[in-house]
Amino acid sequence: MTAQLRSELLKLRSTRTSLLLIAWLVALALLIVALHVLSFSVADLSLEDSQLRILGLGTTIGALFAALLGALSITGEFRTGTIRPTLLVTPSRTRVIAAKVAASALAGAGIGLIAQALTAGAEAAGLAARGGHNELGGDDYAQLLAGGAAAAALFAAIGVGVGAAVRSQVATVVGLCLWLLFLEPLLLGNVPAVAKFAPEASAGAAAGAIQTQLPDSLVTPAVGVALLAAYAALAGLTGSLLTAHRDVH
């Protein structure tokens, strides 16, 4: 298993895909935070709730890019055909998927940290530039970084599982984007009592805020992490079982 994990980590490092994902993440996070900081009045911006909501954008971005990284790690193999040499060297497909989950989770934690640190930094800089007062304390930032990293790591695992189940790269990427950017925000806005148990809301609970929701309308951070871990386990097992039972062409 260690051998497969090392192999998967080299796969992540040996193409430009991971770097490109991080470059997009940085650009997107900076753009979105800038737009939000500029669109609020200074009075609104100085409210703790507004500041938390802006931080919640980083949670979504971190989760999205971590999920994409995980999904690409398996759908890319189907797209390019490298799945064949991969499985010839490691015929145990469960082991291959498990190694991808572990490697993607590690990289995903890094992506979560980058997304949150960038969002928090950009927000603090924007606040200072506009003369607003930063209402957030060390506890908020600690939860943001730790919860955001954990949530992104688990979303990377979800991405591997979904990608292994779906196999098509385009369908997987479109599906993950639709869910994270459109469907779940829609659910959160309309049926928050149910949607707070969904994956993205759970990530928000872990990190401190998500989308338009604040901690009081979300589950507790521990429950958020536990729910996400359950989703990751479910996705990983489904992807692994399907991969084990399907022919590779």
């Binding site: 497969q4 490298t82 040499p85 991969t86 010839l88 490691t90 022919d247």
Partner: protein
Amino acid sequence: MHDATQPPAAAEAPRPAQPALSATNLSKRYGDVAAVDDLTFTLEHGTVTGLLGPNGAGKTTTLRLLLGLAAPTSGTAAVFGGPYQALERPSRRVGAVLESDDFDPGRSGRNHLRVLALAAEIDFDRVEEVLALVELSAAADRPVRTYSLGMRQRLGLAGALLGEPELLILDEPGNGLDPAGIHWLRGFLRRFADAGRTVLISSHVLAEMAQTVDSILIVSGGRLVAARRIDELADPSALEALYLELTA
């Protein structure tokens, strides 16, 4: 590995007990279509065998079944006496190339091999050896997208050879190789088999086959229609006549 304390009886065995490769009543159906239909054959150690047949005859499906990438509908496929998945450290026993382009175009040739070497627990020194063997050392740091088809064939072969396997399975290995490359490949496969190791290559280039292999299996419509030793045939044109007659 044999150790010195083994009883002499074991050392006297002229050949390993299990055939390198065997298919027994092997069948694969996709809906109503039988891609592979009741195929039975074994490969002897130390031989080069050609799997011949028209496009769609079931050659590639047969190789996938033998390598555990697809599950047979019925029958068994065995590598060294058992299913491929049961091999411990499979890359030390079997090297295979199924498609000429199973690479990430953005990854360098060297990193492609290192990724495989890490998973197979093979030293990076061996990566350099196989790169030199297939004459790709100079191009090893370039992304595979810059490689010609012939270079990709050679990189695929390098990956198959990483673990110094006893059995080599190649699907259309001559595609994209220039005459010098074909000549090199033929010599390489000959030396490989002469060292007691076993090769199965699929192809529909008959002339290339006739010069390379010891025996042929001809499949058509998923069924085995002929198994011959090449020295049973009068000359290369006899192979063509046989092939055309059986696959018509």
